[in-house]
Symmetry: C2
Subunit: 153 residues, 2 copies
């Protein structure tokens, strides 16, 4: 009789964690604090709001990034690539050696792994995007040098 009781007790102790894992979770707008984009990685006024983190089922996390006119990321690469969904405004994206490409709300950009690039607002327009970034070996970005004003304009 002891073995079944032990098993039942173990199941009861495990139950709260199992129930929690099976629950729809709502993270309300405002619950995830925005931060100012670090001058180590961005030029100009940039706000970053986390949306969701990678988990055991989805290797990508996501955040909303808002760029004031003239603001942009530094040059960078992603070890597992990144998808940008432009959610408002007008911005520029550029791959090293390529032309600046103008992007607008509703456009979707795929930056393949290892491709050196930057993204940001245009000189005269703000731009916001959702960035969906897969993680590889715990890393999702490698930051490089700033985009100079000459490169930007």
């Amino acid at each position: 009789m002891r073995r079944p009781m032990t098993i039942a007790l173990s199941a009861a102790l495990l139950a709260p964690a199992l129930v929690e894992a099976q629950t729809l979770k709502v993270s309300p707008n405002g619950a995830r604090s925005s931060s100012i984009g670090s001058a180590a990685n961005f030029t100009g006024a940039v706000a970053v709001t986390p949306l969701f983190a990678p988990n055991e089922y989805n290797n990508a996390g996501a955040g909303q990034v808002e760029f004031a006119p003239g603001a942009r990321s530094h040059w960078h690469t992603h070890p597992a690539g990144q998808t940008l969904i432009i959610t408002s405004g007008t911005g520029w994206v550029q791959q090293e050696g390529g032309e600046k490409i103008q992007v607008r709300a509703g456009d979707v950009i795929w930056a393949p792994p290892g491709v050196k690039h930057w993204h940001g607002a245009t000189a005269g327009n703000s731009m916001s995007h959702i960035a969906v970034t897969p993680t590889l070996d715990g890393k999702n970005v490698d930051w490089l040098e700033p985009v100079t004003d000459e490169q930007f304009r």
Copy 2:
């Protein structure tokens, strides 16, 4: 001398594919056709616009879904879960056996694998969300029965 030449030639033949894979890709708004949500999976007026497909680096794909007032998904589960980012309006989400939860623009919802639930607009408000859905063994949703008017209201 022949071995190095062969290698050089092989590299040249491979180059176009490599270059293509290394290019920033922009999918403009309007390039991805929207479809009307099938009556087999939705109740009411629903429009679905693909954003991006899973690839070898990211096991999740994403789409924008717009629900007119009263419109909602059928009950369903996701084998690898799903994250919803509410992008406009006010909607309802409900897990089987739980209360309806009101969600608004900026809220983020995680539906764990296997949790039976539905999401949609409220009775009086439209709602749009981006759905980010990981794929498991080529599948990302299992559709179930419609949400009845009694369940919805």
